[in-house]
Symmetry: C2
Subunit: 345 residues, 2 copies
């Protein structure tokens, strides 16, 4: 089959690899119907060291179950399924607690011998723990929105939940990528009253307004901080959702957060060390939370409003490519001519 591999920064190719097949009785093989390129895929696109063997890519997909191992009981051949961006056994103490990204036996796609989702098919470990059946057909117009449950909508929701958004909250979202926009949608769904979106790409922030942003701040740095503080009553935003992962976004977050407030990070940090001392987090009693979303935990919660059309998170996809054109999809996202690229293998 064909699958996307990255061989170094900027070097994405679609290559022939062996077809995936059942290896363990808890596996399923899923034919990918929709996949996509993630903002986090741009991090290796900028910095992956070159290797001859490359690394498989893609961690979001909706597909059709083609084969299941003998111990799989919750999905069957022909089911349309959603896969979260981490696979998990569904039974360990962390899975039971809804933190499947810390599953004791789980892992991430495109690593440790498991293929990536920007491919024709994927072997799914722990199919019972990992996959969720969606009551749609594989030509459903809902597939893009269902695909966001793999990662970006679940991640935006995780940001809002960990940030403590409740009815009436004032929230600032840093970043107008797909996760930032869906953090806006999630915050709105959780009842936030004021949602300030920090971003400077008008097409994106316009979609953010449709998702529920009440204010948009295009300025960055000190100017952006002053603008958010002015909009949020002078003392800053009680909840800040950081959906980028670069240091300037972290600095922006603690610039706009109110004393006693929360910074909830879901952008994968591209730094290890950051300011957490008296003058940044400690003195004003700011809480830093977040991490990779246990998207699996949220699929059942978020799916009904997608199925009944109440929300349409799939609007973040503004560009579609065939599998062979995935390299072009990376370039489009990197050059910001696309917000998020849908892949139809």
């Amino acid at each position: 089959m064909r699958a996307t591999y990255m061989y170094g920064a900027g070097d994405v190719r679609v290559v022939e690899v062996p077809d995936p097949r059942i290896q363990l009785p808890t596996d399923a093989v899923v034919r990918v119907v929709r996949a996509c390129v993630c903002g986090s895929d741009l991090h290796p696109f900028h910095s992956l060291p070159a290797t001859p063997e490359g690394t498989p890519m893609g961690h979001e997909f909706v597909g059709v179950v083609e084969d299941v191992g003998s111990e799989v009981s919750t999905v069957a051949r022909g089911d349309v399924v959603i896969a979260p961006f981490a696979w998990s056994d569904g039974t360990c103490e962390f899975c039971r607690a809804g933190l499947q990204t810390s599953c004791l036996h789980g892992g991430f796609w495109a690593a440790g011998g498991i293929g990536g989702a920007q491919a024709e098919a994927v072997r799914v470990p722990f199919a019972d723990g990992t996959l969720v059946t969606a009551p749609v057909t594989e030509d459903s117009g809902l597939l893009p929105s269902l695909l966001t449950l793999s990662d970006v909508y679940g991640t935006g929701y995780h940001a809002a939940l960990k940030g403590g958004v409740t009815p009436g909250s004032t929230v600032t979202v840093v970043g107008d990528g797909a996760v930032g926009l869906l953090a806006v949608l999630a915050a709105r769904r959780l009842g936030a009253e004021q949602i300030v979106l920090m971003g400077r790409h008008k097409a994106r922030t316009d979609l953010g307004r449709e998702f529920g942003a009440t204010d948009v701040v295009a300025e960055r740095g000190e100017e952006g901080i002053a603008k958010v503080r002015e909009l949020t009553g002078g003392q800053g935003s009680p909840i800040v959702l950081e959906a980028v992962g670069h240091m300037p976004a972290y600095e922006q977050a603690f610039g706009v957060v109110r004393p006693g407030g929360v910074i909830s990070r879901v952008g994968v940090p591209q730094y290890d060390q950051a300011s957490v001392g008296f003058t940044s987090l400690f003195g004003p009693n700011i809480t830093l939370t977040g991490g990779p979303a246990p998207a699996r935990a949220y699929i059942e919660t978020l799916m009904p409003a997608v199925l009944d059309g109440t929300v349409d998170p799939g609007r973040v996809f503004d560009h579609t490519v065939a599998l062979d054109d995935v390299p072009e999809g990376y370039r489009a996202m990197d050059e910001r001519t696309a917000l998020k690229v849908l892949v139809r293998p």
Copy 2:
């Protein structure tokens, strides 16, 4: 009057200074009956740059109101009062929200022209917002325990509250100083079932056991981490209270915290940058919280159990000095021959 000043690392002197007096109609002047030396006073004791003018010291006191300004209405001459370690107006949005350490018009003792508490008397700004009357006489045996409401018991309580301790919680406390021990007591009072205290001074950890610690781990580093993980079911402690402020304590905290757990810091961080990236906080979805305790917010909550003898947090004082002997008190705490030094001016 006499007051304690520090003129550089290790250089503590009791000197003559002008008597404090009412300067604003919202001021009170309080004669200090009990003060103390704080673990955080040891940070400047190790590192304060030498200056000829010095800096006043002390931020915890119980005293008797000697004089009040014309606008003071909640305390009167002769009242025994407890002063939290930050003074605050009691009316701003942060005071009303119970975050008096971020008071818009407040500040800390021994800074900005306000004297320190290791002295005969102190001018108290915003007396109505800052002081809490205690229904005792100035020779009460409860004074040491009431004095802990100025800082160390309130700080331990803040750690436990921000850490989310509830009935049945498993908690690890890093540090066996007064704050760590009172974090144990606070966690116990909030219903924690398992409390692991990390500390290696037996007299202190013995007191920690009396305050409610169920386990004591004297080991540090990797060995200490392994021991705590073993005691807490293998995956670490869901709640960690960090009561030291040095980098090794931070590293210890994220070494023992469970994925999805909380590190609540109340030790004043002696560092600015720390690991917060994928492999430390982000990947396992760890929350970092805490800061200077709004001790003022907790005095009314914590005082009843002190007054009726249910708890005796004043047991952290194991050494008493007269005002003239405060320099010796610093040395005793620095050399760890004293846990916490009470000052009787």
